[in-house]
Amino acid sequence: MAVAVAGRVAPGRRLGRSLLVGLIVPVALVLVWQLLKSLGALPYQNIPAPTDIGAAAVQLAADGQLGGNFLHTLLACLAGWALGSALGVVLGTALGMSRWTWTYSMASVEVLRAIPAIAFIPIAVIVLAQTLQMEIAITTWVSIWPVAVSTMNGVAGVSPAHSELARSLRMSRMERIRKLALPTAAPKILVALRLSLSGAFALAIVAEIVGDPAGVGYALVNAQQQVRPDIMFAYIVLIGAAGLVLNALITLAFRRLAPGFHLAQTSGGSDGR
């Protein structure tokens, strides 16, 4: 077994090798699963063989359902995420820059953000009906709060020396926000953006399971009603992959935007690597 030796291996090769080691377990699991299924030793009739799942995925991809459904869900997720994050940055900047605004509205923000966004899906369905707009309203709402709170904390972290400098340079409020507050808050905002993206993705799927009959959430419900576990497994595996890819893309984008800044280090220990 090729267990990677820690130490003097080039970082690129090391990553490749650790990924290879990590693939042993899933591959072995799938093989055992397939073997048990072929031997008819699985307790549940309903569990499909890995080959069936693969066939279902290929079938769905071929007739365009897969791409269409993922496009719909990703659109709802990304549109709401972008809108909500923008609102969150504005709100967080207002809360972080002005003591008065903070005193007279922070408690309201705390109350609103404590309410799980999922609880708003029923009212969104009543008001906006079963539409893409309803999904976007929900993904927007869930994205606002982490970004707002992180922006606020980040903006409040501008050092006194820099504030003093801004004052002696007679910077306008806009200038102070643009040149001082937002750059200082950037690392925290980036962490929150990653958090709110995975929140928006999950909420888009819930909104589709409960409300909007479209996208991967509805595809799952539909497959459940038709008792097609192969399709369900195919979607679940791909949803996991989509979540992973979204996270990798945003990490990559930030590394491009802010070189030298490591997201993993500031993510509150959510990743041990």
Binding site: S18, P183, L220, P229, R273
Partner: protein, 268 residues
């Protein structure tokens, strides 16, 4: 100028730590004003979508009168508490295993990373297919989503156990049970606590998600019922109740965090 600022970003230690933590109650004014205006407008103009707060109260009161409300809140809280306990135990065991046994960590790392980015919600329809509309299905899905913060925090603190402590174990010829109780468990306890603090609000959310999407029981089922009968006032009333539950969970956690994690920086 720009270089100067990025330098400021990096020197985090020089920054004053968390200047303000608890928001004053005066901050509730905008929310109260909004509700007041809402009530006033609602008195003059009937709206099916946005009924005034007084109607939220009356419509929710009918639920409370039948006893359904308290039963549902109880069900949700039971699901929440059970899932939290199971997720904590499971996360601790798995976290210690992958944190202490580096072969396991390398073998399972990518699989765990994959599973952790899989939104637990996506498992609801599958879980329903295999386990039916049951409480064990609810618990299974909630635990799947809630286990990660505990697992990751415990893995982190299990990795960082001082090697000297492990040498002590060898010199004292401690058995596996003694090692676990006297060295490993105390070392990972802060990790467990931090994980619970992070995962508890998430657990409540997941419990609601499962209840709303399967309508088995709990306050999520009430919400979904109200939506399907277009009782928007009742939906708003239930949202308020969910908010109160969430705030209560947060308040308990803040207390726990303040007491138990005094020597660690608070979770971001």
């Amino acid at each position: 100028m720009a270089v100067d600022l990025t330098a400021a970003v990096r020197t985090r230690a020089t920054r004053p730590a968390r200047p303000r933590r608890t928001a004053p109650l005066r901050g509730l004014l905008p929310l109260v004003a909004l509700l007041a205006v809402w009530e006033l407008v609602g008195a003059f103009q009937q709206s099916t979508f946005f009924p005034p707060p007084s109607q939220w109260v009356t419509q929710t009161a009918t639920l409370a009168a039948g006893g359904a409300l308290f039963a549902s809140v109880g069900q949700t809280l039971v699901t929440f508490a059970l899932s939290l306990v199971i997720a904590t135990v499971l996360g601790t065991v798995l976290g210690i295993l992958v944190g202490r046994v580096s072969v396991l960590d390398r073998l399972l790392g990518p699989t765990l990373d994959y599973l952790r980015f899989l939104p637990g919600v996506a498992l609801v329809p599958l879980a329903v297919l295999f386990m039916g509309y049951t409480q064990s299905m609810e618990l299974g899905v909630v635990v799947f989503g809630a286990v990660w913060p505990v697992l990751l925090q415990v893995r982190l603190s299990a990795r960082e156990i001082d090697p000297i402590l492990m040498d002590v174990r060898r010199s004292l010829c401690m058995g596996p049970v003694a090692t676990f109780v006297k060295i490993i468990l105390p070392a990972v306890t802060p990790g467990i606590m931090l994980g619970v603090v992070i995962t508890a609000p998430l657990t409540l959310v997941l419990a609601l998600v499962v209840e709303i999407s399967t309508q088995v029981s709990g306050i999520g089922k009430l919400l979904e019922d109200a939506q399907q009968s277009f009782l928007s006032a009742q939906v708003f009333g239930l949202i308020v109740i969910v908010g109160v539950l969430a705030l209560a969970v947060n308040a308990v956690l803040a207390l726990v965090e303040a007491r138990l994690l005094r020597y660690r920086p608070p979770a971001e």
